[in-house]
Symmetry: C2
Subunit: 178 residues, 2 copies
Amino acid sequence: MNLKEKTVEKHVLYTGKIINLRVDDAELPDGKPCTREMVEHPGGAAILCVEEGKILLVRQFRYAYGEELWEIPAGKLDRGEDPAHAAARELEEETGRVPSSVEFLYLLYPTPGYTNEKLYVYRACGVHAGHVHPDEDEFVSVCAVPVAEAAQMVADGRIRDAKTIIAIQRLLLEGAKG
Amino acid sequence: MNLKEKTVEKHVLYTGKIINLRVDDAELPDGKPCTREMVEHPGGAAILCVEEGKILLVRQFRYAYGEELWEIPAGKLDRGEDPAHAAARELEEETGRVPSSVEFLYLLYPTPGYTNEKLYVYRACGVHAGHVHPDEDEFVSVCAVPVAEAAQMVADGRIRDAKTIIAIQRLLLEGAKG
């Protein structure tokens, strides 16, 4: 079954600091015309860091929701930046922890209906102390949460961020395997 | 620690079919001015449906990525629609299966840096046959995948959609618990 949609003409309606908006003329698999709205995003990196049975979570106000959320450290890629580098960078910037290496875990598509964001998720290995230095417009507080408590926070809805739920589920699955 | 950002003035730059774009003047916790780009989304519902050890996945071309993806059935909420109703509706529209009830599993925030999308994830219970009737501009193919194979598809990166990974990892955790 042919599912492919063809781009007829791209229209960039907004070019911003983090995202761009495109509303393209396109063609459905059956040849009929359609319009596709999409957000262009440079991609991001997130990092799962566990020390002594505790997962590092950052609490951050998220403007779009008007809420403070619990998330694993993450941020967007700088232009041309390797996602593994970005993951280690974000960990240090937000929590002051420095990994000696990172292990690739997932390439995630957060919400494929309208964005092209690719989110690379890593695990921090061999972590030691560095320096906290968040972005100028970023206010975060850091908390080391026992994995069992983080699991409870997913179960009762206190953790809602998708990448963070995936990371915590992974820890639980690894624990279940022994 | 005060993390809250205040809205100074909302600016709607685009009002679309599925999403709107806002670029607001806001104020950081320390009182400094900032700009916040965000996508307004009506919210969505997704549904995990397992029958005889197989999970129902739909394969769909996603314009923003230019790729066909494997996902659990999902779609946006109609205006004022109850998310549980939307989940059951999307399951029937995309796969022809009808649940006699749905169980709430998660409220997910897919990518909180720039969208306010709330995605409600349910499990289909007591499933029976109905009619497939996809949206006019929606072309999907349906596949019932054994849970172990779906887990392998997550592990090797064939499944990248975040909500789908969360649903599959949940099944694995339930299996691990016995």
